[in-house]
Each structure stands twice: as structure tokens, then as C-alpha cells.
């Protein structure tokens, strides 16, 4: 795509400088509980940023000893077919390196717009929120949260 941007019109220059301002995309991946990573998407996601985040998550996951990752989508304002494509690729790649992937937090209006317009995001595991996703993680690990008396 970059070879298309060789034009020297004022608009292209503006566009490039804005890209510079936006800078590197911060990628947050935390070990939220033993054996489980947590990551999410923050800020506005264009497809270039999205790709960097996806690559980052893959890289961190691959290097860690964790087997489950929760990916929080609660800050994602729109899921179009391009973003859905990135999420599906992320899901598949993580599975191929031996991770279990739990998505969570898709906002109702995002879900509705996807369904009404026919954006497909099939075959991924989704939980309502991070709490529900964590509950599943504990269950898989044979753990249970109990109140200390």
C-alpha cells in the first residue's frame, strides 16, 4: 500500500505527518492471573494500527508460558469486515501456537450493527465481560473463588 503514497500533493503530506503524530501503538498484554494473559484494543483502531497490535499480541503470547488469553473488545467502537478479518486471523494464529482465546466485552450496539449488516465473526469464543471470561479460566484450571471466613 505504501507505494501508492508517493504523490507529493499537500493532502498526502498532511496525512503522513498525522500518522507520525499518532506514533507507535502501545500494546498492553498482562498476565492477569496465573497462566492467563489479558489484552485489549485501546484508542482508535485503523487497520494499520490493528495489524501492529495483532502482531504484538502474537509475539508476546508466543514468548510467554501462558495457555489462555483474554482479549477485551469493550473499547472497540466498530467492527467492520476489515477489523473482523484481523480478529479472526488473531484468533486462528493464537490457536495455532497453542493458546486458547477468549474474547469479551463486545458492545451491544457494535454487535447489533454487525448482525444487521452481515459482518461475520464466526467460530470465536466470546464472553459477556472480563469477569465471565475469568470465571471460565478458573474453571478450566480447576480453581474456584471462595470467600475467606
Amino acid at each position: 500500500m505504501d507505494n501508492k503514497k508517493k504523490g507529493k500533493t499537500p493532502e498526502t503530506e498532511v496525512a503522513i505527518s498525522r500518522r507520525k503524530i499518532m506514533g507507535e501503538t502501545p500494546i498492553v498484554v498482562n498476565e492477569i492471573v496465573n497462566g492467563c494473559l489479558y489484552s485489549g484494543f485501546y484508542g482508535t483502531m485503523d487497520s494499520a494500527r490493528m495489524k501492529r497490535v495483532v502482531d504484538g499480541i502474537l509475539d508476546v503470547s508466543n514468548r510467554s508460558e501462558n495457555e489462555i488469553i483474554i482479549i477485551d473488545l469493550s473499547n472497540v467502537e466498530i467492527i467492520d469486515s476489515a477489523i473482523a478479518g484481523h480478529l479472526l486471523k488473531l484468533n486462528m494464529s493464537l490457536q495455532l501456537v497453542g493458546m486458547e482465546v477468549f474474547f469479551c466485552g463486545i458492545q451491544p450496539v457494535v454487535a447489533q450493527s454487525m448482525v444487521s449488516a452481515g459482518v461475520k465473526l464466526d467460530n470465536i469464543i466470546v464472553f459477556k465481560n472480563i469477569k465471565r471470561a475469568l470465571r471460565e479460566v478458573y474453571k478450566k484450571q480447576g480453581l474456584k473463588l471462595v470467600k475467606l471466613t
Binding site: D80, A117, G118
Partner: protein, 331 residues
């Protein structure tokens, strides 16, 4: 006021969809409609980057701020075969172009692409504000013949342009699944052509039914409601009524059947009407109604539809009632 924004790289995709979303919200669209606008714009803008060098979005409000109008132009090669490109799954590159266009089409109320080979594409998209309850309300009662699994009647409503409404009661010949398929053919043609004059829509429906097979036919009542005016066409044994507080007028149907016999020259009636009035559309599963068979004029539209259905449906046959009430002259 029309505004313009360049689409040159992927951060511009975010930019134009954010602007479109905010613009929609400002016009009064709810969060889902605004999200759909953003989604549709995002799909087209992604397409622009994928297949063209550059593009531009123009955005404005039309028709008394009741229509959001978006135009995206690109300077790509244009689509070689537009119909193919619109089909799901079809793509000229490995990323799915067809899918994106289909999504954008569904995200908007109106979607059109004009393509100039070797020059580029012009995408025109519109989202319409829903009609206000204080202007128009409608209620529907429809039920299948109990001997069959499917309802062959289709009650169709399409709000558009921020102040207009197209309604129809479609009755495919016979009962059950085959009747429903015939009704669906008609419905799809209406859906694709809702902006065309009623007569032209009917000609297209007739053609589609004939193409489907010689047994495919349907009767229909279709009406377009615009401020102060109704355009009305009834064909076959559907029946309709225009009600005012003072009394009820039985609207005349033309004899015939879409997809069968020779199609006569169709006469679409234009009625000037002052609010408040009711327009009641019935399929033949409802008995013909005399003046004294209607409930109180001030009953809600849904209650009116229920009343007519409960008191006047026939023993057999799919039966449908659509009751529409226009409460005031302007939106």
C-alpha cells in the same frame, strides 16, 4: 452544508467513519443507526484504499435534516462488473470486495454505485430518520391458514426519505410455502425499487413472477404515503379503505393478477388527504368490510388491526390487515 474529507490512508478511514457517526448522531439518529452509518462508511473507505489511489467523502443533510447523504468517490479502476461485485463473496482481489459492498448496502437505507471504467466509482449512501410516532403510526395483524406451515401473505412497510412511507399487502397465489415464495419475489422487487413510481414497480414485479414460472402470481395492494397525499394501487382481490372521522371510503382495485394473464395498463390513484386519516389494507383472508364494521376511529392502530382481524377473518386462507394512521399533515 456539505463537508469534504480526503481518504488517503488507514487513519483517514477512522477519521471519516468517526465524522459520519458524529454527524448521524447530531441529526438525531439513534446509536445503532449511527453505528451502521459508521460501519458502512468504514467498509467503503477501506475499499477505496484497497482498490484505488485515493478517495473523498462528502457528507450533508437533506430534506429538512431528515436524510443523511454521504458520497464517497475514488479514483480506482472502477468495477468491471458491478452486479458481480455487489454479490456476496465475489472479489477481484484476495481481500473480499464483494462482502464489503454487501455490508455497506445493508448498513444504509439507500445505496448505489456508479462506475466509470478506468476513472473510478461514486458510492451514494443515504440513511433516513424514522418517521415520528406523532406523525404516522401503523399496526399489523397477519396469520397463516392453519392448515399450512407458512403464511403466504407478506405485509411490507418501508420508511424512507425521512417523511415518506411505502406499504403493501402482498398475497401470493394459494397457501403455504409456495405462496410465500411468490410473495417474497414481489417483496424483493419492491425492496430493490422502492424509489420508482408504483406503476413501474408493479411492472417489474409482474416480470419477476413471470420469470419465476407460469404458476407464479400474486395480488397486491401498494400505497405510497407522502405528506398530504396517498398514491394507491390495488390489484386483484385485496381490499382497502380510507377512513376519516366522518366516514369510510372503499378504495377501488383493478382486476387482475401480477404474473398472470395480460398485464393491463395500470392506473395508480392519487388521493389528496388531510389528516387525521386511516388507511386500512386487507388481504382476501379478511371479509370485505362495510361501513359499520370498523371499530372506533380513535382506537390505536394495533388495536384496530386486531379488532378487524378477530371479527372479520375468514375460516380459511392467509389473512392480513395493515392499519396506518396519519395523525398530522407534516412530519
Amino acid at each position: 452544508m456539505e463537508k469534504q474529507y480526503n481518504i488517503l490512508d488507514s487513519s483517514d478511514v477512522v477519521n471519516v467513519r468517526t465524522i459520519a457517526n458524529a454527524y448521524a448522531k447530531e441529526l438525531g439518529f439513534d446509536s445503532l443507526a449511527s453505528a451502521q452509518v459508521a460501519l458502512g462508511v468504514s467498509e467503503i473507505a477501506e475499499n477505496v484504499l484497497r482498490y484505488a489511489d485515493r478517495g473523498m467523502m462528502k457528507i450533508k443533510a437533506k430534506n429538512n435534516n431528515r436524510v443523511l447523504h454521504i458520497q464517497i468517490t475514488d479514483s480506482g479502476a472502477g468495477f468491471k462488473d458491478l452486479t458481480k461485485a455487489m454479490k456476496e463473496g465475489y472479489s477481484t482481489s484476495k481481500n473480499s470486495l464483494g462482502l464489503g459492498l454487501g455490508i455497506a448496502k445493508r448498513a444504509f437505507d439507500f445505496f448505489d454505485v456508479q462506475t466509470v471504467p478506468n476513472k473510478g466509482n461514486v458510492f451514494m449512501m443515504e440513511k433516513y430518520l424514522p418517521l415520528d410516532n406523532s406523525y404516522i403510526t401503523y399496526g399489523v395483524a397477519t396469520m397463516k391458514d392453519e392448515r399450512y406451515d407458512h403464511n403466504g401473505d407478506i405485509v411490507y412497510t418501508k420508511e424512507y426519505g425521512g417523511d415518506k412511507l411505502l406499504i403493501a399487502v402482498i398475497d401470493g397465489t394459494g397457501q403455504g410455502e409456495s405462496a410465500l415464495e411468490m410473495s417474497n419475489i414481489v417483496k424483493e422487487v419492491i425492496e430493490e425499487n422502492f424509489l420508482l413510481p408504483i406503476g413501474q414497480i408493479m411492472i417489474n414485479c409482474d416480470k419477476a413472477l413471470r420469470e419465476d414460472g407460469e404458476d407464479s402470481s400474486a395480488v397486491i395492494t401498494i400505497a405510497r404515503i407522502i405528506p398530504n397525499e396517498i398514491r394507491y394501487f390495488g390489484f386483484g382481490d385485496t381490499h382497502s379503505y380510507l377512513r376519516k372521522k366522518a366516514g369510510t371510503q372503499n378504495l377501488k382495485n383493478q382486476e387482475g393478477r401480477l404474473g398472470a394473464y395480460q398485464l393491463p395498463s395500470l392506473i395508480v390513484n392519487t388521493l389528496s388527504v388531510a389528516s387525521p386519516y386511516q388507511l386500512i389494507l386487507c388481504s382476501d383472508g379478511i371479509k370485505t368490510l362495510q361501513n359499520d364494521k370498523f371499530p372506533d376511529f380513535d382506537l390505536s392502530v394495533q388495536q384496530t388491526a386486531n379488532f378487524i382481524f378477530n371479527n372479520h377473518h375468514r375460516l380459511y386462507g392467509d389473512a392480513s390487515v395493515l392499519v396506518l394512521k396519519v395523525h398530522r399533515n407534516e412530519v
